[in-house]
């Protein structure tokens, strides 16, 4: 397979070099190129349609989702890649950008949630399923070359491998949620929202110190700083991601998530095929049944996912790299489908992916976010050699 570089590995170049080239050529400003893109007009129409059909909140969330997608594609911000680049090349750049985004989001989100009961954090139980699911997800995301957000938007760019991963991801998310009660029966401790136990100030200090200490250790043990990203673009992207994450919280009332929406799409398809989910421990719940019987445009996660797809497509087109080349063998296509299934299933056992558990969990003070991080990072050490053995190395 010719793709490398994580969630956006197939896209040649990086945000900084692209911007430098643009400046050197004296091309029109980036914003003007976005505005003049036909896709931007389509995005505006889509936003207006969602607002007209469903409401202003969903229209806002579509815009927020577009922001996520534009940043992810615009600076090649890849969660999967950041981890792989450190494990393989000891380049901490991706990690540091992720910590910057999480830290900034945390500084605003935790005080907001503590002072506004109408806002919720991504707080999940500390279960056996969390550890198993996060470990498996960490391995599978390295094989698939993308987490939830990466797989989603690369599929929208026409990356064949991600297109093969996505249906499995959707099916796996649906099945994982459907089986969640059985996995929780293996053992589970209650959710731990650190601000409720330590207070807002102590939680912020503790979590920022932890991110800082890990970041400092990664930096001290670096061997490269330009294995994947050059310049400041990825850090600018991290700041923008934090801004959109806070906006998501303010508008939706909950942090950024990806996988719930994918599972809901799978559950909808299952019901269309005649599967009765009314008695299922997860999908049979009243709120889930309401979602199943309503348009997906009324679901906050689905709408941000759709916006993410659109935003990434626009950004990639403006950068001129919206057609990532993919070349895979039959065996590798099969691997993609199976890996997608594993990704989706494990993400639900782990109460989220890099976005819902790692990014949003830690940035809203949930202990499960840290457990997820540790287990998924350990899994990545397994997944990277597997990826190379499967011939998926660049």
């Amino acid at each position: 397979m010719a793709t490398d570089g994580g969630s956006i590995a197939a896209i040649p170049g990086d945000g900084t070099s692209s911007v430098r080239k643009d400046r050197a050529r004296g091309l029109q400003p980036y914003a003007a190129r976005v505005a003049s893109s036909p896709l931007a007009i389509a995005a505006v129409l889509a936003c207006l349609a969602i607002t007209w059909l469903v409401g202003l909140r969903q229209g806002f969330l579509f815009i927020v989702g577009m922001g996520f997608g534009a940043v992810l594609a615009g600076v090649s911000f890849g969660f999967t890649t950041g981890w792989r680049v450190w494990i393989r090349d000891r380049d901490p750049t991706g990690f540091l950008a992720q910590f910057l985004a999480i830290g900034l989001t945390m500084l605003v989100s935790i005080p907001l949630i503590a002072s506004h009961e109408e806002l919720s954090g991504a707080i999940a139980p500390l279960s056996v399923s969390l550890v198993i699911g996060a470990f498996v997800f960490g391995a599978a995301m390295q094989i698939a070359d993308g987490c939830g957000s990466g797989t989603l938007y690369k599929a929208g760019l026409g990356n064949g491998f991600s297109l093969a991963v996505l249906p499995g991801f959707i099916a796996g998310s649906f099945l994982g949620a459907a089986h969640l009660d059985r996995w929780l029966a293996l053992g589970s401790l209650p959710p731990v929202a650190l601000p409720e136990h330590l207070g807002v100030g102590a939680t912020l200090i503790l979590q920022l110190a932890a991110l800082g200490a890990i970041g400092a250790w990664l930096w001290r043990n670096r061997k490269k700083t330009d294995a994947r990203w050059k310049g400041r673009a990825i850090y600018v992207g991290a700041v923008l991601l934090a801004v959109f994450a806070v906006l998501n919280l303010l508008v939706a009332g909950q942090p950024w998530g990806i996988v719930y929406g994918l599972g809901l799409w799978g559950a909808k398809i299952a019901t269309w095929l005649g599967v009765d989910l009314a008695a299922n421990a997860y999908w049979g719940r009243e709120a889930r049944q309401v979602h199943l019987n309503s348009s997906l445009l009324t679901d906050v996660t689905s709408v941000t996912n759709l916006g993410l797809l659109m935003g990434a497509l626009i950004a990639a087109n403006v950068r001129g790299n919206a057609r990532p080349a993919t070349d895979a063998s039959g065996k590798q296509w099969l691997v993609a489908v199976i890996t997608g299934l594993v990704l989706g299933y494990s993400a639900r056992l782990a109460f989220g992916c890099n976005v819902g558990a790692y990014f949003s969990g830690i940035s809203t003070g949930s202990l499960h976010g840290w457990v997820w991080f540790a287990a998924a990072f350990a899994g990545s050490f397994v997944g990277i050699p597997m990826r190379e053995r499967l011939g998926l190395k660049s």
């Binding site: 409401g55 954090g121 991504a122 939706a252 719930y260 809901l264 080349a325 989220g352």
Partner: protein, 64 residues
Amino acid sequence: MKPRRVTVFASIFWIAAFAFIAFDWSRAGPHNRFDEPPPWQLGQEKVEGAGHCAAPLTADAPAK
């Protein structure tokens, strides 16, 4: 994979996505767009069961 094939793949994806949304809309219950919550959640009444991957099973009402 050649760029043209990638374009075809991308086109198929977006057509399928649009068809999925349209089909879902046609099957969903009627939606009153004038009965929507305010544009943002901050400062509004808490909404339970909005749906998030981190939400535990006990986050909303039990199965029927």
